[in-house]
Amino acid sequence: MTDQVSEETTGATGAAGAPSRRAVLGWGGAGLAVGAAAAGGAVAAFGGGSDLSPAASAGAAVPFHGEHQAGIASAVQDRLHFAAFDVKTKSRDELVTLLKEWTAAARLMTAGLPVGDVFEGAPEAPPTDTGEALGLKPSRLTLTIGFGPGLFAKDRFGLEGKRPEALVDLELFPGDNLDQARSGGDLCVQACADDPQVAVHAIRQLARIGFGKVVVRWSQLGFGKTSSTTPDEQTPRNMMGFKDGTRNISGTDKAALDKHVWVGAGDGSDWLTGGSYLVARRIRMHIETWDRTPLQEQEDIFGRDKGEGAPVGKSKERDEPFLKAMKPEAHVRLAHPDSNDGATILRRGYSFTDGTDGLGRLDAGLFFLAYQRDVRKGFIPIQRRLAKADVLNEYIQHVGSAIFAVPPGVRDKDDWWGRSLFA
């Protein structure tokens, strides 16, 4: 499956249906239009939205169905709302029902549609869809689900035999200062979109559908992608002002994805074939002290220059780094596959800022998201090396941590998130 718009929305399905939220407003919103007309100027705001434009014409719907879940190799969107859930229900059937309901909702929302009525339902009932994404484009929304280790616990849902070997309990790495209230979770949903309102709406809807069965354990908003899966673009900068992750796997590099990201048929857990593993880390940056660090030192720490992002001794961002030219404890040198027996991960991290921390310091950093075929060969060896030696550690601290097995894609309209696991 490729990212971006595909045949699904440009072709038959798109022409027949998959209207955008705007289009829905057009034909479903007759009542509203009348009201808006009466209100005068408001009608102008909706005027342009009443044409029935399929989502694809806006170039903004990522197909939900496919061999792999969207939101991994898909071109990285601008915004993130990530949520980890604890499962409260003890009933396997209830959990399965929820996953089916979530899938149906995700199918609608990624196509730019509301989940049920917004303003045309019973007046006595709260609207089914909360409505804040009405009139917005699909905005390349992707929703990606993951299953945490807790789901496979003994005497819970009968899944203990299906826990993949690679879904390990992450060790405590040196320097970790993990807040349990920002770590772990039985389920996670990663919502990425170009419009923050669309991403937030999606998580809010899923949380609402889940009340009584699951609870939000923690969530994280991200506002600026820090890595790209489209190497023709320049690598986005992190909160330290540096390009990091230049060598990320391209979303179109099938060979690299098969090798490093997608779980293969012989990897051990058949239900996970076509899926992946996700490690999420909330990495706080000591922004103020970093900002007082001399330029040369900043560049030495990363092993790249700040302006172009070129590795030490090279002139272009994408020039092959010569690791030995970097300081032994430079971040890029330590994180590079060559320093880690070829360990390669797909990064989709986002910058975050959650205001200030009460001490006047910016509560900001990197919400690191890494997808890989096997965490034991991906994130873990890399992080062990970084946690031990990276000079960047003086300026960062890992404060949240979670790991999830990410099931394969939802194949068609009858398929649902987790079918291969629960079936």
């Binding site: 409260k88 006595e124 709260p126 009340f211 009584g212 609870v215």
Partner: protein, 383 residues
Amino acid sequence: MRPARLTVLTAAAAVAALTAVTGCAEKSDKAGSGAIHVNATDSACEVSKTEFPAGKVTIEVENKGSKVTELYVLFPDDRIVAERENIGPGTKATITAEIKAGSYTFTCKPGMKGDGIRTQVKATGKGGTEKRSPELDAAVAAYRKYVQEQADETLPKAQAFADAVKAGDLEAAKKAYAPSRIGWERTEPVAESFGDVDPKVDVREDGLEAGQDPAKDWTGWHRLEKSLFQDNKIDDNDKKLADTLITDLTEWQKKVGQAEITPTSMANGAKELLDEVATGKVTGEEERYSHTDLVDFKANVEGAQKSHELLKAVTAKNDPELAKQLDTQFAAMNTLLDKYRADKNGYEFTSYDKVGEAERKELSDAVSALGEPLSKLAAAVAK
């Protein structure tokens, strides 16, 4: 309490009073046609006709008894269509009301007490009979009774609280504080629908409006809560406040039975009770000095559950899955709350300042789990 606003439940008293004064007594007297005469005595309530055309109806009441009386026109669920209080012995009163086709009850209340002397009447003709379900009428009537009972039971408990304050007995007052609020908290959406009472008895300091002086304008339970639990003292002003609280609650007790209650307002009231829990109790904001939030919490849940139980016959028919879900979530909520009290029949709960962050989140999660299906109850009932 919440900031004053129009709730689904509005005091029917105001509506009824308006209806009563809009009629023109002389005119209908002169016309002499169509008026219904009610002869009220200490032991009888004779109605001149029990069937009359729907529309604007004039009722002339003559009190021939020795006690002050009142007359109510009631819907089958005891909602008030029109009323006139304080009809003195030997005096007459005229009530006019817009009455749609349907069945009603005329009720005289000699001495202004009790259920009254009742006569079934019928308004006929056009105007369309309001389609009503007997099950829902029964639910509303039972809920109205519940609300009144809660108010009636609150008064003596509030009196005990006030007495302790007036006696200067700090410990006894502290002990009597939370129990005195239970009836109010159980029926809060109805209780606070009387806009004038709620700000007097249940306002918190931050709920005062701009220009109001906490020293002068802050009255009610929470003002006393602060004296007792924060300042650890009872002064003369507190003793006066205790009397004011009883005066205001007595006013509430008198009015509460007149609240307009409908099946959907019952359902929404249940949801609002959970909203109260979600915004005020789970955060520990409501009882910030006494930390008796879990008592209010329990009472709110009980009030919501009462609505659910009374409406269940209808909910189970219209949306069986929802009825089941509510049963499950109420049970889960109650089980969770029981963890915070040793005596399952008592109202002594763990002080909320001793409830940790993780436990508060667990309580909050349970409130969400119950509140979400509860928000669907009104639509299910209205089907």
